[in-house]
Amino acid sequence: MILTIAKKEFAEMWRDGRFRWSALIVFLLLVLSLSFGWRSFSLAQEELRAAQEDSRRTWLEQGNRNPHSAAHFGVYAFKQKTPAALIDPGLDAYSGNSIWVEAHYQNPARNRPIEDSTSLQRFGELSAAGVILFLLPLLVVFLTFDSFAGERERGNLRETAASGIAMRTLAAGKLLGIGAVIFILLVPIGLLGLAAVAFSSGIGAVADEAARLAAMFVTYALYLFAFLGLGIAVSAWARSSKTALVVLIGFWVFSALLLPRIVNEISAVAYPVPTAQDFWAAVDKDTKEGIDGHDPQNKRTKELEERVLAQYGVTKKEDLPINFSGLSLQASEEHANRVYDKHYGELQERHRGQKMMVDLAGLLSPLIAARSASMGFAGTDVHHQQHFTGEVERYRRDLQKMLNEDLAFNSTAKTASTYAVGREFWEKTPDLDYQRPSFGWVAAQQWLSTLLLAAWVLAAFGAALSAAGRTRID
């Protein structure tokens, strides 16, 4: 029986002109967003790739230099676009895409694209994910609000009941039928997404991203099914189709507009982020209490000096077979690393705390849960940003160590002022080879949002069946 109802619902929906038109419009918007998004996406992709190569080339071609001068010259790390960012750009516009890798400083990521855009962008980016997350649920609402309330108003429910069909069976059939329509709608959308990714990043990217793209597809499907269940539940519960529609749109407004911003404000109060001034004041304080490579007379340097002199069995730095300032610089880097681990660690914890609060609000808003999961799988969320900055910092520390040790062991106090190394040495320094985290890493972080989405689907389907069981037939 359920199947028969499902088939009828499916056929009815499919033949409905309004459905066709709205599906067409949504599809058109997706095509528009992908084709316009593709242009700025590939431009940024190209620029970032070129910039990374450029940074390495400049580093190799910097000429003869003292290693510590080179450390101050530094290199740049650019966060490359992920292929799935074309579908969900997530935080790409809002997070810095370049880090200056230099001596003494762990620099924050700079250059947020949003700083070079107009106030229009603040209305939201029209990305494929945006269309799916914001517009498609409304399409589902328009498809479902009438499902019980409308039939009741037309007197169909009484007839259906008279023919011995339980309302729950009817609801199950509707879930199945309309669910099939949604699924069929999602298939071309998925193919469109795949085509866009293949077109912009190559077929190889699609294979590499298969797990992520599949997870995004599942996220969207779960999300829309949650709205399907809710739509039918509210339609069965409401007295009229008008009430059903107003309640559903109200819920959409709450979950897509109101709640995200409210939770965002609350999370900023719960986990305040220090200003740049306060942050650096705290770092400077902790650094000064320790060792400073440019100020060799303080306590830590003295200890280091005594240790090194004893080790080499001499009494003056000038008599050392090595360059003491190289060791001192490295010691100060290592102290600074501990300071940075503390302060950046705290900062990132706060960012994650804010994210956790927002993610938990997914309990009240399926949009928040779906958006978090979508960004996570696309590789454009807070976790990925932190992974990138973490890897760059690791690279920076290795590079500094290499430069300082070269200075220490290949020059002496006498040759220090003229000591320089050239291309041969620069070639030996590692190039930044940032590898995005594996799918397993992502999945471990997205369990909450995915679980919440699945819970939404179960709860919504349950509500649909239970509301149908109690619905009045006239």
Partner: protein, 479 residues
């Protein structure tokens, strides 16, 4: 308009618990929006006040040291820079600050992503802490602030549509429309009276909001600036509200079911508030893509100079080209680290300025498009206008960036000669230091721009009411 209908409607609305709850909720979120903006503006202003004070104190201390004849200390382990050395003062990072207007409470606008402080130094910002900032969570920036502008632009239309999408259709569905129209009233005057009654109700939370805004603004609300800005804000909000009532009138003028009206209302809201702005945004940034800042980075790195390696040679050449910068006694210090550093930094600055100007050009092109695109959606025009009123729109920030850049050049200019001539600063030099204060655009220009937007919204509104009027002439009362 029919007075009897208006009175009846007012009475009905005042007894409709749904409507009252909706309006109360709206007043609350509007007040919450103002509260958030006030907290934001207060916090940011306190921060900037602190950093400006810090530098003022620094200058005052160094000045008094110079007066006392203190010349720094080279004592091992306790190095203190010479306060009369132009390098010491010129390279001390400080900030040009864009003050919030007294009406900033009306919109956080772009102030969460665009800096209200701009680092000033003889060095490039890359070499200062100014470029080691940006610790905000990108996720919070994406979700955006819950401010009053958000409430007005996104939620006010929904409140209006929720109250008025079924003004006529509900009467028909409860079979009272035919009865009403049997009296000597036209459908048009019925519709207009109903809208007027609803407008009265919607005005209440807006005025409550305005009072809350004034109360939260504290001393700022005591200025004439606050009130002219508030007045212009009110004009924009009224025009924007009128547009949505006009749209509701058009929707009601077709004899469709309430549910169909609701779908149409939601779809139009989506179109104007979400789809059009973000669609135009993506088109504009694809037609005039602003190159990513990687180019600025490349520009700095293109100047591959090294103090240790190239310092002496560069300085010799520089003094040859600029004999006026030679010290009076003709003796200079080609080995001085500071001199070569300043020289290289100035080269970097020139290069950065060149790239930045290209950025500014492209951004200006984008902004022109946005300015035109406001005529496509009243949500865009109202948003631009409210940001303009609050002084948190892109234009004011771009203007600030330009002014701060000019100030930075004046600062460099003041010190460069002194550095290369190896001069010492006198207390008089401290008094003559260039100081920044942001020059505001004349109010008349802001007002005329905002009123243009409001005027456009009102023209669109008039057109909507005209369509609605034509629609009511063809309306079928029975179904």
């Amino acid at each position: 308009m029919d007075k009897r209908i208006l009175r009846t409607e007012l009475k009905l609305l005042s007894r409709d618990r749904g409507v009252l709850m909706l309006l109360a909720a709206f007043a609350c979120v509007l007040a919450y929006g103002f509260y958030n903006s006030a907290a934001w503006v207060g916090g940011r202003s306190a921060e900037t006040r602190q950093i400006v004070e810090k530098h003022e104190n620094f200058l005052a201390e160094r000045r008094s040291e110079v007066e006392r004849g203190f010349t720094g200390s080279n004592e091992p382990g306790n190095f203190v820079a010479n306060p009369s050395d132009p390098f010491t003062i010129g390279t001390e990072l400080h900030y040009a600050v864009l003050p919030f207007t007294s009406a900033a409470i009306f919109a956080v606008g772009q102030s969460d992503v665009l800096p209200i402080q701009h680092g000033i130094s003889l060095l490039t910002l890359q070499r200062t802490k100014a470029d080691k900032a940006g610790f905000e969570n990108p996720m919070s920036l994406m979700y955006g602030k819950f401010d009053a502008a958000f409430v007005i632009i996104f939620l006010l239309p929904l409140v209006i549509l929720a109250m008025s999408f079924d003004m006529i259709s509900a009467e028909r569905e409860s079979n009272t429309l035919a009865m009403l129209l049997s009296e000597p009233i036209s459908l048009w005057s019925l519709l207009v009276s109903k809208i007027a009654a609803r407008a009265v109700f919607v005005a209440v939370p807006i005025f409550i909001g305005l009072i809350v805004a004034a109360a939260l603004s504290g001393a700022a609300a005591m200025t004439a600036e606050f009130w002219w800005r508030a007045a212009v804000w009110l004009i924009v909000v009224v025009a924007y509200a009128a547009f949505w009532f006009g749209l509701a009138a058009v929707i009601n003028s077709f004899s469709r079911r309430s549910a169909t009206n609701a779908v149409a209302s939601a779809a139009l809201w989506l179109l104007f508030v979400l789809v059009l702005p973000s669609l135009i945004g993506i088109v504009v940034s694809s037609v005039y893509p602003v190159p990513s800042r990687t180019e600025v980075t490349a520009a700095i790195r293109g100047v591959n100079l090294d103090m240790r390696r190239d310092g002496e040679k560069l300085l010799t050449e520089y003094y040859q080209d600029h004999p006026e910068l030679l010290p009076k006694d003709g003796k200079t210090d080609l080995k001085a680290f500071g001199l070569a550093f300043v020289y290289i930094q100035q080269q970097h600055k020139a290069k950065i300025a060149e790239v930045e100007s290209r950025f500014a050009e492209q951004l200006e092109n984008q902004r022109k498009w946005v300015s035109l695109s406001r005529f496509l959606s009243p949500a865009i025009s109202a948003n631009e206008a409210i940001l303009d009123v609050a002084g948190t729109g892109t234009a004011r920030f771009v203007d600030f960036r330009t002014q701060a850049g000019e100030h930075d050049r004046a600062w460099s200019e003041f010190f460069r000669g002194k550095v290369f001539r190896l001069e010492k600063l006198t207390p008089g030099d401290f008094d003559a230091l260039p100081r920044f204060s942001h020059k505001e655009e004349p109010p008349a220009e802001v007002i005329s721009r905002v009123l243009t937007s409001a005027g456009f919204i009102l023209i669109a509104t008039t057109a909507l009411f005209f369509f609605a009027y034509r629609g009511t002439r063809k309306y079928g009362a029975q179904k």
